[in-house]
Amino acid sequence: MTSEEMSEKKATHKQEKLRLATIWLDGCSGCHMSFLDIDERLIELSELVEMVFSPLVDVKVFPEDVDITLVEGALGTEEDLHKLKKIRARTKTLVAFGDCAITANIPSMRNPFGVEETLKAVYLDKEALNLQIPVESVPPLLPRALPLHNCVKVDVFIPGCPPSADTIFFALSELIAGRTPNLMDKTRFGA
């Protein structure tokens, strides 16, 4: 979306703001940081979309009727899966946001070893006090960390670790304009 288009849109559709949500599952929040790196363009964006849910805003419950949700992170736990299914049901356009969401990326590095061995390596095979595998108040890990699209339908993929702020801004602008962004000349796996 060009800035002219954007101002036009602002002028005509002021009352019909798109409902945008973001969330991170098994990820490092790096994609969200990159999102914030959109900097001053965030203001432009805020005139077009309403941020209805995000770790960056203070909303506790994922709302109904969301237009666009950016999901950062892989599916690492049963809770992630539960959340994602709910998000899918309540979202029109679900965006796999960053490599972890698309490929399971870093979280998937545990996959060749399996849950048991991974937990043992992390929590028991160390020289530290109180060696124990945490079980209380933590959701159980899935047997493997998975990309989002293995479990729900994903509409748009934004590769990158993290995708650059420019990529994110471009992708959102296109989505707001009702187009499917073509991102492959802007980003790639590991970008």
Binding site: N105, I106, H149, C161, G190
Partner: protein, 241 residues
Amino acid sequence: MSPTTPLIKTFTIDGKPVSATEDETILDVARQNGIDIPTLCNLEGLTPTGQCRLCMVEIGGTNRMVPSCVAKPDEGMEIVTDSERLLKYRRMIVELLFSERNHICAVCVTNGHCELQAMAQRLGVDHIRYGYLHPRFRLDGSHPRYEVDHNRCILCGRCVRVCDEIEGAHTRDLRNRGIKTLVITDFDGRWGESATCTNCGKCVHVCPTGALAEKGKSVAEMAKQRHFLPYLVMRRKGLKK
């Protein structure tokens, strides 16, 4: 008209009239004419093996596809290097390669210099539709200068060929078969203990991904240098004469 086979064959690639000598492959001619056909196993200077299947092209007027790195053109052929169908197949092959091993670009020494990664970008592969197989491999860091990470290997066979054809050591080969195929050193030993390896590092530099890398390189630091290969091939040809 004499029935003798002409030494020069003329044909078209993507509608462009081109010509080839007896020994030239479709890929050779395409490259001479600035047409870039995607390949992963092919490398100038090594025997082409046609095994990655990315360089397959269509022969116009037929349903046939041939690997352009090994196929030689016939007089009057109409070669198509870029079609919806070819793009679809190429994407699928790249996706299969990504699903096969643990390619995690974000933490790879060749991030940004990797042929597989670049191929995915070029073909518009933004996610992998197939389930990741997540095999488990042991790294071999026993060599003082280099390391092998099978997680990133695509079994293109370049390292095997360069070691055999150019260096002449044949330190590398493949073990097992099918999905269990693995590049090995000698009797499947540790690289650092190899009796045949000359430590020349050619395999490291022909490797399209981060499977073979120099030690001490961090993420995105391992760029490969391949200019030696055509140079060596040319020198050896010269010496033979």
